[in-house]
Amino acid sequence: MHYTFQIERGNFTDAGQASSSVKRTLKQLGVAPANIKRTVVALFEAEINAVAHAYGGTIDVDIDGEKIVMVVADEGPGIPNLDLAMQEGWSTASPKVREMGYGAGMGLPNIKKNTDDLKIETEVGVGTTVTMTVYLV
């Protein structure tokens, strides 16, 4: 099964729709609750990262019997220092984003903790593609 969602810059109001839709689908498919939880935490964080930092993008989700692969690809500033970005507590979020309760530098660490495989390709001034895999078996 394949699903695609659009990400709009700064649109926090609709953030979470992709995660919410994927959660419903996984429930219907009878995926184990622990795997559903991991998947939605990772996808939500990636979605918020793209909304907060990028200029727009897409989310592609593929589900088969063995795994869930989520690709969040954005056009945006890219991540200049990935090692720093992966550090818990490090954030470049704007004051507005921080006021909403984001920007604690926990997004990428949360993604790493909740996925089995995480690949981040990023180019400064071009964009970032985050590929997250959750194995179901």
């Binding site: 926090f12 109001t13 953030a15 979470g16 995660s19 919410s20 959660k23 609750p33 939880k37 939605v40 935490v41 939500f44 964080e45 918020i48 909403m100 309760g101 984001y102 604690a104 926990m106 997004g107 660490p109 949360n110 903790k113």
Partner: protein
Amino acid sequence: MTVKEIIEKLGLQCLNEANLDTEVTGAYASDLLSDVMGNARSGQIWITMQTHKNVSAIASLKDIPAVILVRGSQPDEDMLEHAKDEEICILVSQDATFQVCGKLYALIA
């Protein structure tokens, strides 16, 4: 203890009646949304002063039955609408986070 019993014992205002008979397993107090995403557990009540729509989105994703907004904070209109769609109980306390946590801890911890 159920959501309904907590509403009664803490004298909370209920803005969306949902999950009233759900058994609450604990609580998580945080205004950092990624902290809640990463560390809150399903079945816990979430205590916060954040009032925007992402609060109900996260509560729904994490299977959090009820959110207590502290210091009389009112939810944004779209947060409440979303909570109704997703069946999340939205509660308001006049107390600050510390008092709400203390009272809840005495009840359910």
